[in-house]
């Protein structure tokens, strides 16, 4: 290794890219986990096609996985890749636009034949010129033939051999970035423990890839990325969907209730259902319903009968659940609805991220139908907001919509594992006095009603979707209806006393306040930090409690000359803020490409606003 150049970097972005059958998601995940275990901070983003199997070798079938890791705090998967691993020409075609100028491209030269170039819509034999990648460092490695050579003694069929070529690429990258293989070896041994041939062959290819990098002199430099100086503690890698599911488990344990999830598989929310269905050891009841409506209505039934009830979905599913959310509002039952947002409208961009369901969450129902709306901001804090959503629902007897998105749901980062004892308590409002129980009598401070559960003797009562009086009996009285509409709204507003004050990142006074919500946090904070290093008077207010807004929101906004609301839609949060706080002028940065912001485009829009 003495001949190789060694470069120290603070952070690196690698994009693994290949056909959706090439195992790029696993390759990326293993590399990211190994980096996290090594001590780097990381942020990951899978970018995969919605087709299960698009034609092999086509641009539509390209599956990518991007990870940024570094020796400092990492908040995003990175705008552009320093290193691209391309398993076929289509990966070049699909990813050229995500490359950092002067970056390195490692590609499987075996797959760059005429047939594959044509499939990837290249018209010449030189894909790099066609994609304007001539100034890049390109390393051709015959990964397919080297993998075949590596496994020639294993007696595997051709298909199984080819399936291992991702391990060769992984080994190579681990060498380039000085990652030990121990963690990955262990993973493979556990995962394929039952078939030693599969485990053995994967490990063989992995190590051969690593050794190939070490032995070949034509390789590009190796890089050293030091461990990050992060808080001491026990860590695990966490993605947003698992964090969401686990947040509900924590809330169930804290509240002493059983957890019920009624759900229907939908991209990109399905993993929440899958994760909870693994947890029968913690008594979770997962009900894979026949459709989105049965998903939520079964959860409403479970809420009526005393469980912590959840339903999980994505945008189109939230639309189908609208009427039932209204029922939960009217019946005043504790219920959490998770919407892992994706590109819309209609089926839209199922595997791509977007924030365009905000107004649907706030208003998308018949009648005056207020709910609490929260939004998680990073993959791991999905845990916290899922927990809080459940706490609010149970303590205030109100449906809560938790918004995450595809970027958060699939993205991951290291997470300092909390202790259950350190989480706040949750006290469900279980009714106590049978004799005097009235289903819609309210706590004077919070306006929440008490929860009497079928099976509790003496508490027999009726609830339903019709307007009712205090006893739960149907009432068409005009004054009663107005009173109840107002009080249901008031009840949601009073949740504000559970909402922490809004804190800005940066100074409390300045020229520009960048305002964001939800999954854009990582990109916004990265941009604001860089701007501040350039001595710009810019701060970030990132809002997770959307309805109700934190008490001091207007106060915070008032300390800045200009406000720019950045979101992945056409301006839904900006409209909401205009409605709630019309005294301010809201500039907007909006993006609807199915992709997260880049740090650069946020900075550009702030520069522009500073000049105006």
């Amino acid at each position: 290794m003495k001949d190789a150049r060694v470069i120290e970097l603070e952070e690196v972005v690698i994009r693994f890219s290949g056909d959706s059958g090439d195992g790029m998601q696993l390759t990326g995940t293993l590399f990211s986990d190994a980096s996290a275990v090594f001590g780097n901070d990381i942020s990951t983003f899978p970018d995969y096609p919605s087709e299960i199997r698009a034609p092999i070798g086509t641009v539509g079938g390209v599956s990518g996985f991007q990870v940024q890791f570094g020796g400092k705090q990492i908040n995003t998967p990175g705008d552009f890749a320093h290193v691209l691993v391309a398993m076929n020409p289509a990966a070049i075609q699909a990813n050229a636009k995500f490359m950092n100028p002067g970056g390195t491209i490692i590609y499987d030269s075996d797959s760059f034949n005429e047939k594959n170039l044509a499939k990837a819509n290249f018209t010449t034999k030189d894909p790099f010129t066609e994609c304007n990648l001539n100034d890049y460092d390109k390393i051709a490695i015959p990964i397919t033939s080297l993998t075949k050579e590596s496994l020639k003694d294993f007696g595997l069929d051709n298909k199984s051999v080819l399936r291992s070529k991702n391990m060769f690429a992984l080994g190579l990258i681990c060498w380039m970035f000085n990652r030990p293989l121990t963690y990955i070896d262990e993973y493979i041994n556990v995962k394929f423990g039952k078939s030693p041939v599969v485990a053995g062959s994967n490990i063989k290819v992995l190590h051969d890839g690593y050794n190939y990098g070490m032995l070949m002199q034509h390789m590009s430099p190796t890089y050293i990325v030091h461990p990050a100086n992060i808080e001491n503690g026990t860590y695990r890698n966490m993605n947003g969907n698992v964090a969401t599911a686990w947040g509900f488990l924590a809330a169930a344990e804290k509240s002493g209730l059983e957890l019920f999830l009624g759900s229907y598989p939908i991209t990109p929310a399905t993993e929440i259902l899958q994760t909870l269905s693994e947890r029968k050891d913690l008594g979770v009841k997962t009900f894979q319903a026949e459709d989105e409506i049965a998903g939520i209505t079964s959860a409403i039934g479970a809420a009526f009968a005393g469980d912590l009830a959840i339903t999980s979905t994505s945008g189109p599913g939230l639309a189908l659940k609208s009427e039932a959310i209204g029922l939960a509002v009217m019946a005043e039952l504790p219920l959490v609805i998770v919407n892992v947002q994706r590109g819309g409208p209609s089926t839209g961009l199922p595997t791509k991220t977007e924030q365009s369901d905000l107004l649907q969450a706030l208003y998308g129902r018949n009648g005056e139908s207020p709910v609490v709306v929260l939004a998680a901001s990073t993959p791991s804090d999905c845990f916290w907001y899922a927990f809080m959503a459940a706490k609010i629902a149970l303590e205030r007897m109100v449906p809560v919509i938790l918004l995450t998105d595809g970027f958060l749901g699939n993205g991951s980062e290291p997470w300092k594992i909390p202790k259950m004892a350190d989480l706040p308590s949750i006290t469900p409002r279980i009714a106590k006095n049978a004799g005097s129980y009235k289903p819609y009598e309210r706590d004077t401070a919070t306006l929440a009603r008490d929860w009497a559960i079928p099976g509790m003797a003496g508490f027999e009562h009726l609830i339903g979707g019709l307007e009712k009086n205090k006893m739960g009996s149907v009432s068409h009285d005009p004054d009663n209806h107005q009173f109840n509409c107002e009080i249901r709204e008031q009840k949601v507003q009073r949740v504000v006393d559970m909402v922490p004050n809004l804190e800005v990142c940066g100074d409390n006074v300045g020229d520009i306040l960048v305002v964001g919500w939800g999954g854009t946090y990582g990109h916004l904070i990265s941009a604001v930090r860089e701007l501040r290093l350039e001595s710009k008077k810019v701060s970030l207010a990132h809002i997770s409690y959307i309805k109700p807004l934190p008490k001091n929101t207007a106060e915070v906004f008032g300390n800045f000359t200009k406000i720019i609301v950045c979101e992945l839609n056409l301006g839904q949060f900006a409209s909401y803020l205009r409605d709630k706080m019309p005294q301010f002028t809201y500039h907007q940065l909006n993006k609807l490409k199915g992709l997260p912001f880049t740090v650069n485009e946020i900075k550009e829009s702030v520069y522009k606003l500073l000049e105006e």
Partner: protein
Amino acid sequence: MVDLHYTVKDFKSENEVRWCPGCGDYAIMNAVQRAMAGMGIPHEKFAVVSGIGCSSRFPYYMSTFGFHTIHGRATAVASGVKLANPDLNVWVITGDGDAMAIGGNHFIHLIRRNIDINLILFNNKIYGLTKGQYSPTSDRGIKTKTSPFGTIEDPFVPGQLVIGARGTFFARSIDSNLKLSQSVFEGAAKHKGTSVVEVLQNCVIFNDGIHAAITDPVQRANRQLILENGRPMLFGDKNDRGIVFDKGKLKVAIIGENGITVDDILVHDATEVDPTLHMALINMHLPDMPVAFGVIRSVAAPVYDIEMVAQNEQIKQTSKIKCVDDLLNSGNIWEVTGNTPSNGSGCSKS
């Protein structure tokens, strides 16, 4: 020991019952309350869930736990109720619009899963609450407000859907026969799994007399076959008619004619797993055949809620994860020690 001897009154609520005078719903509710009073189940264990429609106002008139939900979804809500608390005795009250049209999907999936829920389907073959439009069980050709020239579609036969969805319990009753209704409700409650009871119900306002041919006081004995498990399928005002199986079909035979004796008459076996004969009984209709009533099918099969509890218990026994802390610290975790982090925005290298 708690006194579990209830009377009908114990199940009536204080709410004024607001069905039309003469509506068949009154009699059905009466039968439900009588059945519940005699089941030996604590009052607080009953939960009655309904959808939307005239019949779905039912929970308001009961003193049990009740939930008046949204159109078509009572079956799904009730599924959640039962799974959250399997100790409850859960009843779904629904109609032919609620269960067969907007709620058709939930209806068949409830039955397929075989969750231990009792469902009463009030079938008046009309939309009553919206004042007289045809329903999915309305006969072909019926003229209603939305079919002024007659419908051009065939109805569902609810029992066929139950069998098609692999139902384990199906019974049929009629509003005017309170005793029969009470007895099939008791049977439904005892059955482990989804029990569907179709009650032919008369809507006095919008579809009056729709079941009159069956209930006709003079002819009803000849037009109703009331099935009893293990007994020959006999009916008629002289009890001399019976059902025989002839050339692949059910037919009516008269005892004493053509050498037919009681021994030739089919004996009802509701517990037969093969649904062929049950389906044939469900399909019988006037004028050539009587309409079958009573418990047509009642077979044992795995019950979802019981299986769910058993599976959870089994996994709990074998898993190493006993609490959320265990889960959080399972799998790939690592320790970070010796760092003295600066505040966030810095980029200090170790």
